[in-house]
């Protein structure tokens, strides 16, 4: 009986507590630094697409919401011909970001992406691609990879030695 009365008293004391409610549209909630929201495709510091269309994100995606098609430019540099994320399926798990070898696909702290039409939640490449490097300002996959592309031959990448002419290694 005494505990019941104490309970009532404790509840009554809550009259003077501040409500925990965040009144959302007017008041924005605190987002953790690693909040996983809307997915974007970033560019490298040179302004080129980072994505090399390796399909690892699509393979990692547990709900199969990523669809893309790889293609190559004239110099053998791979990029996606189309890149499509269906956000009505996406669960924002971040596995695609973990899988991405070139840090191209990234999750951002933006969650306000409601649509009246379900079809509008399918984002195409031009919707996903941003103009900056996202979370990794300096990383440039093709500057550290040994692949020859336009404007960079073999051996010209950072910390890369000149290719060895195997014929000179004859004893």
């Amino acid at each position: 009986m005494l505990s019941n009365i104490r309970t009532i008293w404790e509840i009554l004391r809550h009259s003077f507590r501040r409500p925990e409610t965040i009144q959302y549209p007017e008041q924005k909630p605190y987002l953790a630094p690693r909040f996983r929201g809307r997915i974007i495709l970033s560019r490298d510091p040179d302004g080129e697409e980072r994505c090399v269309a390796c399909y690892l994100c699509a393979a990692a995606c547990p709900v199969d919401c990523i669809a893309l098609q790889a293609t190559e430019d004239g110099y053998g540099r791979r990029y996606p011909a189309f890149f499509r994320i269906n956000f009505s399926r996406c669960i924002l798990c971040g596995f695609c970001e973990e899988a991405c070898p070139t840090l191209a696909i990234q999750l951002t702290p933006d969650y306000e992406m409601c649509e009246y039409d379900r079809q509008n939640l399918v984002y195409e490449k031009e919707d996903l691609l941003i103009s900056g490097p996202g979370k990794y300002p300096d990383y440039n996959f093709y500057r550290v990879a040994g692949l020859a592309i336009a404007g960079k031959d073999k051996g010209e990448a950072e910390n890369e030695s000149e290719p060895v002419d195997t014929h000179t290694l004859l004893p």
């Binding site: 019941n4 009532i8 404790e10 809550h14 009259s15 409500p19 409610t21 009144q23």
Partner: protein, 317 residues
Amino acid sequence: MNPILRQIIIIVVVMAAVLTASAGLIWLERRLLALWQDRRGPNRVGPFGLMQVTADMIKIFFKEDWIPPFADRPVFVIAPALLVVTVLMSFAVVPFAPGFVVSDLNVGLLFFLAMTALGVYGIALGGWSSNNKYALLGAIRATAQMLSYEVFMGLALMGVVILAGSFNLSDIVEAQKNLWFCIPQFPGLVIFIIAGFAETHRLPFDLPEAESELVAGFHSEYSGIKFGLFFVGEYLGVTLISAMIVIFFFGGWLGPFLPPILWFVIKTFVFICGFILLRASLPRPRYDQLMSFAWKVLLPLALLNLIITGGIVLAVG
């Protein structure tokens, strides 16, 4: 003024006030529960969310009014109305202010007890005619609970009757001019409040509904405005029991400075908030605990209170 006209005006005013208040309780309860749970509650529709009541009412009016094919149609339809009507009838004897009463019955207290007793029918028939096992279980619980709590609800008030020497509610209020009955009749007050909770089947004693075990208890099969009537009946019951607590134990309209009607409203409001506070804080007891508490603790206490009060009144005067 023509006495008949005056009476009709009083009836209309009481009906309007009571129904508006009980509808407003929907909003008040949600806001107060939110306050005590560190939330905000409905605050979007209109100023302070007050229009939430209107929104809820519009919604409930436009819901499909569905009667299950297996239900006993006429009884199913009558049951919610029965509950509301019996509670509204009790308001006929409530003296809001001196002379401001629909019917100044000389057995007003008995009339009130009789009408709350009839309220059981609304719930029992509603649960029975639904032809649903959960509804039936709820109805059985409601019947047993309300019948057993009615016994000492009446007995707890007998102490008040002994002190006031009248069954007339206005006389009972007038008898508290010098001392509110909450002090000499404190055990009676506690017993009456507990019985009142059981009578209105509000949350600590809402076993007829018990949504965690019985879906929604006796009104599982109800929808639309019929469900709304059960709801309004519950809030009317809360208002009624609060008003009765004020009349029997807290001097009704008596109070300094403010006009009597305002005192009555303020006191009733405090007890309505008390009802909601208890809902916010206390868990639901088990059914056998509820029944044994009634018969083994409260009934002897009520009888003891009655004997002692009677003895003292006899000895003194």
